[in-house]
Symmetry: C2
Subunit: 67 residues, 2 copies
Amino acid sequence: MLKNRVKELRARFSYTQGVLGEKVGVTRQTIGFIEKGEFSPSITLSLKLAHVLECKVDELFWLEEEE
Amino acid sequence: MLKNRVKELRARFSYTQGVLGEKVGVTRQTIGFIEKGEFSPSITLSLKLAHVLECKVDELFWLEEEE
DNA sequence: ACATTATGTTAAGTATACATTACATTATGT
DNA sequence: ACATAATGTAATGTATACTTAACATAATGT
């Protein structure tokens, strides 16, 4: 199962979903879906998010065992 | 533009495209397309590839300026 | 030379990432 | 209390990741 720290890091920079979306080229809804874990973004978008949030992709996203 | 080191690391482990595909749950064609840079895989698949190829996602994939 | 395995590539179909629009709810500030 | 900004969420549409099947060529081993 895919987990992420987008919401946490976005808050650290005080970016709204809309602002973060603009910075990486997607809509605020897309950011919302990613934060909720509703889909697995492309590596291209993931790299952009990691860049803007100043971290490594591996620190932003990781896989956890299911239940 | 998205670049990657999949082919290079796959060779290092002497995996065929088919074997690598099996290990991460996709077909050999998908591995071939990724190596050619024909599409941007999901972060889920990227994490699995990095795990099997024993590296970080950021070392496997990166963005470069155009043309 | 032959068989076998790995790779390149193309076409057509399915699944899903992401956009757009819209409306409701929850902050935040005055 | 009111206005405004931020978020949740759902419906429908489009782009693209990924599959399946097929055939061709290159590489490797006997």
